[in-house]
């Protein structure tokens, strides 16, 4: 009886270890995570308006039909990322995520940035250089310090009516994103 109980306890303990190992290694071995989904959009250094799935079609990114989406991917080893442009007065938000899909930064146009999106994304080294050289940034520029070099930005724009999708997706397509040489500029000063 005691031996059976000991086997049971040992099984439970080993089960807990298996559980913890699964939880900890899953992010590293997930084959179809959000980063691979975003890579399929070929949005590296450019704005891609994410097509809304047709009714009844798979929706791997979990898009809300009431929103229009634009995505831009960055490799910060190429230089700091920049994402900018003007957006309609309706609600919009921007989120920066690392390759594990973890939020790095997020905000909405209700936080005082109005209709203008001006975002600079810097890795740790670039952030350090930026602060050391006391670069004067433009007013309204949002500085985001990213913990990784692989990040992507998502802009969500709320549609006042579904019929506005085409026009609002055109507004998203007019945004610009890419890598800047702002740090080279600073070094030259």
């Amino acid at each position: 009886m005691i031996r059976a109980l000991l086997w049971l306890i040992a099984g439970l303990m080993l089960g807990l270890v298996i559980h913890l190992v699964i939880i900890l290694i899953l992010p590293r071995f997930a084959a179809d995570n959000v980063w691979t989904q975003v890579q399929k959009l070929e949005a590296m250094g450019q704005v891609v308006v994410v097509p809304q799935p047709a009714p009844g079609a798979p929706n791997p990114l979990g898009l809300d039909p009431e929103m229009a989406y634009a995505i831009c991917q960055f490799d910060l080893t190429e230089g700091p990322g920049a994402f900018s442009g003007e957006l309609p007065a309706d609600f919009w938000s921007v989120g920066i995520f690392d390759r594990d899909g973890v939020s790095v930064y997020s905000t909405t146009n209700r936080s005082g940035v109005g209709q203008s999106l001006e975002l600079g994304i810097f890795n740790a080294e670039q952030t350090r250089l930026l602060s050391q050289q006391q670069f004067e940034i433009e007013e309204g520029l949002l500085i985001v310090a990213a913990p990784q070099n692989d990040v992507f930005a998502v802009v969500r724009l709320a549609l006042p009516y579904p019929e506005m999708r085409t026009r609002y997706e055109q507004a998203l397509a007019a945004l610009t994103c890419g890598h800047t040489n702002v740090l080279d500029t600073i070094s030259d000063k």
Binding site: W7, L8, A10, G11, L12, L14, G15, L16, V17, I18, H19, V21, I22, I23, L24, L26, P27, A30, D32, N33, V34, T36, Q37, P53, P55, G56, A57, P58, N59, P60, L61, G62, L63, D64, P65, E66, Y69, F91, S93, V94, G95, I96, F97, D100, G101, V102, S103, V104, Y105, S106, T107, T108, R110, S111, V154, R156, A158, P160, Y161, P162
Partner: protein, 183 residues
């Protein structure tokens, strides 16, 4: 011993990532959310959840998403029945409600609104909106589903949700999901 270990190890992991109760998921009535998905330093369970789902998440500054797979009586949502989603909602810029299969395919009937938007709802004098979800014709706000069968889920997304500032304690109201008729 090995059988027990494998059952506990994989079973507990599946429960943690699918249901999530006791593993970071927040529950209020029929609704469940993972408040850590929008955090900048989520816990290991949320990181595993993010890896498993592969969907775009909302940052904490953008909003929060709740999912209901059951009605308020704990019965799984099925397309054989109609439901009424009614009640107060937390403060947010706006919210949307859609019905999907468990793997996220929108099941609203083609040619009808694919989701409900809080700014475009008929409301009672008290300001509360009720949304009917199902295949049969319904008066008022009607999220019409296609003619498929099987279980489904409701996805309720709040944008610019100020109640996130004190998440958990300040979520005082979410709509009830009430089963009406079944075929």
């Amino acid at each position: 011993m090995l059988v027990i270990a494998l059952l506990v190890g994989f079973g507990l992991s599946y429960f943690a990532l699918v249901d999530g109760r006791f593993f970071g998921a927040y529950r209020w009535g029929a609704w469940a959310a993972r408040p850590e998905v929008g955090a900048t330093a989520p816990d290991p369970y949320t990181r595993a959840y993010l890896a498993r789902t592969g969907t775009l998440q909302l940052g904490r500054g953008e909003g929060v998403q709740f999912i209901a797979t059951e009605d308020s009586d704990g019965q799984a949502l099925t397309r054989a029945c109609t439901y009424r989603v009614a009640g107060s909602t937390p403060v947010a810029a706006f919210w949307t409600l859609r019905a999907t299969t468990p793997d996220g395919i929108n099941i609203a009937r083609e040619g009808t609104p694919q989701s409900m938007h809080s700014n475009r709802l008929a409301r009672s004098n008290s300001g509360v909106a009720a949304i009917h979800v199902g295949t049969p014709l319904a008066a008022g706000n009607w999220l019409e589903l296609d003619a498929g069968t099987g279980h489904f889920q409701l996805v309720l997304t709040f944008y610019d949700a100020s109640f996130l500032a004190g998440f958990g304690a300040s979520v005082t109201a979410l709509p009830a999901v009430i089963k009406e008729d079944c075929a």
